[in-house]
């Protein structure tokens, strides 16, 4: 042994800092031949085996053949009794056993070592053995494992218990037989053995609630020595209490135990108990009061003591737990505020950060100023991740105390100016944007800060995002002119992507502020000399549009550009190219991009922002959440492709809209049917996804028969599903022609599932009878409503679009929605009913207001755009004045009549 250590030392000196640095796989595997020498060359084998282990841990992988060769060569090293070499062999076995074949070969050698006299070998041999043993081999080693678990040497016993847990993963039944030995280990004197024993015992009993309860109450009364085991017991107890299946008496008994553990002499146990009490109180505040407030107070006062502990780990743990409590019960933590403030000066920055975020949650409005100052003091020393945590805390603080927003805004602006990575800057920017959206008074101040920031911002995505925001909000401020300078500076100074975005924003200012228009035209003219194609194209386009001075054209091309779903547009263009191209391309049949669902979640989902600003194209302004759009578009495309593949539906034209699936049965019935409505220009396809949940039936010739109450609708075709075996979904279709009369395009259909049943064997699924018998099954009614004819569309500037449509086709009506009690409810109801997209963030109803105006935009089946303005007022129910404008008066009428 000494010789080999010495030898390795020499190698190290020879080869510099890392003797294994440049060994490569093939040569090392060649060297592994040394294992086969007789007698074993201990020194060289040790070195080569170390090299192999080094390579494996560097991420090198061996093929099955290579690994098996090395493994078998390695098995020959069992001849040697060198301790170091033997232990390396154990490591080698553990590394290679997942790749090599026939690893079972070493079983006997390992069992010999684990029952042998050399204690040095025994624990390692057990660990290696459990890695190579599979379920079928367990019996051979079972006896040895049982002996080892109750061994006098604590290391051996621990190793056996932990190995047991690994074995339990693939063959729990065998391990269950060892429960007597495990139980003996639980009563061991050694702290580690007791801990591992309890872990194993719990693993065995886990699935049996009663057994766990019994075990716990026995252990509570007997008391354990090992603090590790007590910590584990506390976790088990906490889980029992949280599951709420035990009786109240038992629960109070368990709570008593937790409470008593708060006074244990080991800090670890005390912390674990406090953590458990706190977590329980957070989880059960609403339902049952298992944890009394007294318990919580005790737990928190224990944590408070830890806050002033000299050990940084304890301080960290305590402040982290308090931070968690502060999320749900800030009042409970207020008592610790003083100690927390002391921690702000802590040398460990992680502790300080957690302390400050906790304080921000618990702090009263008055203490914010002071906190701000201390944040500014230490913010420079912490890493970006922690800074983001602080920013998040500031954001929630800002939403909580609107009156402090000016102060916070200043703080954020300071932080924005300091050094930091993209993620950090983005977090700040989106916090500022949240504040702007939340509080109109803070808007101009916030925009100023952001303008200042983009003057010196190296992140393209962030600059583009802020420019876009300026384009949206800037023109509506009191003095839009002041932003022009910032924007034009971007055109002069920045890279192409930012320049292009700036040009688009300039155009928006020009479109909305007539007094700035001449100046903007001049600026755009200058932009036309840009070196980048995209920038030149945009400025030329916008210049041309703006010079017309025609409000209608400007509104259509700049304020509300058409927003097609890009993938659908591509498909439509492809099919246009393959058909007769003499006619002009009809864009109206291309579905609009599904409006981003993120407008509400924008404030919360800062993460989606990264995806949002994907490039300088103007379309990106319509897609703040690219990923969400991708998902829904792919759904639309999937339906479109599936329907296009059916010959009977080939001539229907492009798919306009697909509804969300509607359940026509209860989920637990014999047959589950869902309906999806696909709207085309003149037809509707009802797609029925059926599933047969009876395993002794085979359904054949399955179709859905629909009937309408009136006689407006014509059923053109029914496509049955040939066979519907157990649990394999099948699909059948019904094709309907939409009535000519636009006023009768809604209706209710009764539906009935008709099919031939053949009984079959539940196991094989083979039908037992030759012929089936007919049967039917009544489904719930299908409703075709206005929303099936309308698809939501995005309007980035509702007012301009409203003016553009003009009052020509306007219809107005007043309704009383007596069943509704709040404005927010009314907004969701109306939006869902019409299937249109809320614009200008009008779906958010400010708190405490009695009236609200909702703006909705959509596209009707034929491509006519529809806008709805709904003025809502709260008065004994909700009163609504609905104004509809559309390119087609008939459409206006349909929409207006739909609500009534």
């Amino acid at each position: 042994m000494l010789i080999s250590v010495h030898g390795m030392k020499k190698d190290e000196e020879h080869g510099g800092s890392n003797p294994y640095q440049c060994s490569d796989k093939t040569s090392v595997l060649q060297e592994a031949r040394v294992f086969n020498e007789t007698p074993v060359n201990v020194k060289r084998s040790t070195h080569v085996l170390t090299k192999i282990l080094y390579l494996l841990n560097q991420g090198e992988t061996l093929g099955t053949k290579e690994a098996t060769d090395v493994f078998f060569a390695m098995t020959k090293l069992f001849q040697s009794n060198d301790i170091i070499l033997r232990r390396l062999v154990y490591l080698g076995i553990k590394e290679l056993c997942s790749v090599a074949e026939d690893t079972i070969i070493v079983t006997s050698s390992l069992t010999k070592d684990m029952t042998g006299r050399e204690d040095q070998y025994r624990a390692s041999a057990i660990r290696a053995l459990c890695r190579i043993t599979d379920a079928s081999m367990l019996q051979a080693v079972e006896r040895y494992m049982k002996q080892a678990m109750v061994d006098r040497t604590s290391g051996v016993s621990s190793a056996a218990l932990v190995s047991c847990r690994h074995i339990a993963q693939h063959s729990p039944d065998v391990v269950k037989r060892w429960v007597a030995e495990v139980q003996e280990a639980v009563h061991s004197d050694n702290v580690m053995v007791q801990y591992h024993g309890l872990g194993m015992l719990y693993q065995i009993r886990k699935s049996d609630k009663l057994a766990v309860t019994k075990m716990v109450s026995k252990l509570i009364s007997s008391g354990m020595r090992s603090p590790y085991a007590i910590c584990l017991l506390i976790r088990i107890v906490a889980k029992l209490i949280a599951e709420e299946e035990s009786s109240a008496g038992e629960r109070s008994h368990l709570m008593e135990f937790l409470e008593s553990m708060l006074r244990h002499k080991s800090e670890m146990v005390v912390y674990e108990a406090a953590n458990a009490v706190v977590a329980l109180s957070a989880a059960t505040t609403t339902t049952t009061t298992t944890t009394t407030s007294r318990d919580l107070v005790t737990a928190i006062s224990v944590l408070q003591l830890f806050l002033s502990s000299p050990k940084p780990t304890l301080r960290f743990a305590a402040v982290r737990t308090l931070g968690k409590v502060a999320m749900t019960q800030p009042a409970a933590v207020t008592a610790c505020n003083l100690d927390l403030e002391n921690l702000l000066q802590d040398v460990n920055r992680s502790i300080a950060t957690l302390a400050i975020t906790t304080l921000l949650k618990t702090g009263s409005e008055g203490s914010i100023d002071r906190l701000m100052r201390s944040i500014a003091a230490f913010l420079n020393d912490i890493s970006d991740e922690f800074k983001i945590v602080v920013v998040e805390a500031l954001r929630s603080l800002a939403l909580q105390y609107p009156r402090k927003q000016a102060l916070l805004m200043g703080q954020l602006a300071d932080m924005l100016r300091n050094e930091g990575g993209l993620a950090y800057k983005e977090a700040i920017a989106s916090t500022i944007i949240t504040i702007i959206e939340d509080n109109p008074d803070a808007k101009e101040k916030g925009l100023d800060h952001l303008c200042e920031f983009i003057e010196d911002c190296e992140h393209t995505t962030l600059a583009v995002r802020i420019l876009h925001l300026l384009g949206k909000e800037g023109p509506r401020t009191s003095r839009p002119a002041r932003y022009i300078r910032f924007i034009y500076n971007r055109v002069i100074l920045e890279n192409a992507a930012v320049r292009a975005a700036a040009v688009s924003v300039l155009a928006r200012f020009g479109a909305q502020c007539p007094d700035l228009l001449p100046n903007i035209l001049v600026l755009l003219q200058r932009c036309m000399l840009d070196t980048e194609d995209e920038v030149r194209d945009r400025s030329t386009y916008y210049h041309a549009v703006l010079s017309t001075r025609d409000p209608a054209i400007i509104a259509r091309c700049i304020l509300n550009p058409p927003m097609y779903s890009l993938s659908s547009l591509e498909r439509a263009l492809l099919s246009y190219l393959s058909s007769d191209t003499t006619k002009a391309f009809d864009a109206s049949c291309v579905p609009a991009a599904p409006p981003p669902a993120a407008s509400a979640s924008l404030s919360s989902a800062a993460s989606s922002i990264t995806a949002a600003i994907s490039g300088p194209e103007d379309v990106t302004s319509a897609v703040p959440a690219l990923q969400q759009e991708k998902r829904s578009v792919s759904m639309h495309d999937k339906y479109a492709e599936r329907l296009a593949a059916i010959p009977a539906f080939a001539g229907l034209g492009p798919l306009f809209k697909s509804s969300a699936p509607v359940e026509l049965t209860e989920s637990e019935t014999e047959y589950v049917v869902r309906c999806v409505k696909h709207t085309f220009l003149g037809h509707i396809i009802l797609q029925f996804d059926c599933t047969n949940t009876l395993n002794d039936q085979l359904l054949e010739d399955v179709s859905v028969v629909v009937e309408e109450d009136g006689s407006n609708w014509q059923i053109l075709q029914t496509l049955p599903c040939a066979s519907l075996p157990y649990s394999c979904p099948g699909t059948c279709y019904v094709l309907l022609a939409i009535p000519e009369d636009i006023m009768s395009t809604t209706g209710t259909f009764t539906a009935c599932l008709k099919f031939q049943v053949r009984d079959c064997d539940p196991i094989t699924g083979e039908p037992e009878t030759e012929d089936g018998y007919g049967d039917d099954y009544t489904l719930e009614d299908i409703e075709i409503s206005v929303s099936d004819h309308v698809s939501a569309a995005q309007r980035s500037n509702f007012a301009a679009a409203w003016e553009e449509l003009g009052p020509g086709s306007e219809l107005e009506d007043t309704f009383a929605l007596t069943s509704l009690s709040s404005l927010a409810e009314a907004v969701t109801q109306v939006t869902n009913f019409l299937g249109m997209q809320p614009c200008d963030r009008s779906e958010k109803v400010p708190d405490g207001k009695n009236s609200h105006t909702l703006y909705l935009a959509g596209t009707y089946r034929g491509g006519q755009s529809v806008l709805v303005r709904a003025k809502l007022a709260l008065s004994d129910g909700v009163a609504m004045q609905l104004t509809v404008r559309s390119t087609d008066p008939a459409v206006s009428e349909v929409i207006a009549s739909a609500v009534g």
């Binding site: 007789t38 098995t75 026939d102 079972i104 006997s108 050698s109």
Partner: protein, 192 residues
């Protein structure tokens, strides 16, 4: 081999070392045979079926032997060949009381003898017709006939009846084997 080693050998100061392979069907008594060669205090009282293989070391009069005790169970027999390469002798243990499985033993023996790592080498093979004390045991001559040993002409071999539990007959066999190995090693040494 270094000069010093050669010198030590020729003076008989240092023993020769060799690896031998112990094979045979399951329950033939391989581990029991080896158990007998261990020093008195290290013997185990109960021998369990070997899983994989075991390494044992023991000394005879002329050479030190490292024996690879292979598992004889059917699913592990294909692992024998992993140890063919560096063995200097083979012990093939047969349960002479189990006539039915003698054909299986013969088959395993033939497979081994046909193996490219065994076939060209003049490896000494010791056959132990174990369990000779049992009533229905057949004689070593019959065993050798059943294994077809008369056709085995290219390798030195020897068969002896034995009882591994008591150790009867074992020493005779192992003395033959160690003598053969010693001769082979010495011949090699002279060649060098």
């Amino acid at each position: 081999m270094g000069l010093f080693d050669k010198l030590a050998f020729s003076l008989g100061l240092k023993k020769r070392e060799a690896n031998i392979l112990v094979v045979g069907l399951d329950n033939a008594g391989k581990s029991t045979v080896l158990n007998h060669f261990k020093p008195e205090d290290q013997r185990t009282s109960d021998v369990v079926p070997t899983v994989g293989y075991n390494v044992e070391k023991f000394k005879t009069k002329s050479v030190g032997l490292t024996a690879f005790d292979m598992s004889g169970q059917a699913r592990y027999r294909n692992l024998w060949e992993a140890y063919y390469q560096d063995c200097q002798g083979i012990i093939f243990v047969v349960d002479s009381s189990e006539r039915l499985r003698l054909v299986v033993a013969k088959e395993e023996l033939d497979i081994m003898l046909e193996h490219p790592l065994i076939k060209p080498r003049r490896l000494p093979i010791l056959f132990l017709a174990n369990k000779m004390d049992l009533r229905d045991a057949i004689s070593s001559v019959k065993v050798s006939a059943a294994l077809g040993l008369d056709r085995l002409t290219d390798k030195p071999w020897h068969i002896t009846a034995c009882n591994a539990v008591t150790g009867d007959g074992l020493h005779e066999g192992i003395d033959w084997l160690s003598q053969m190995i010693k001769d082979a090693v010495d011949k090699n040494a002279q060649k060098l």
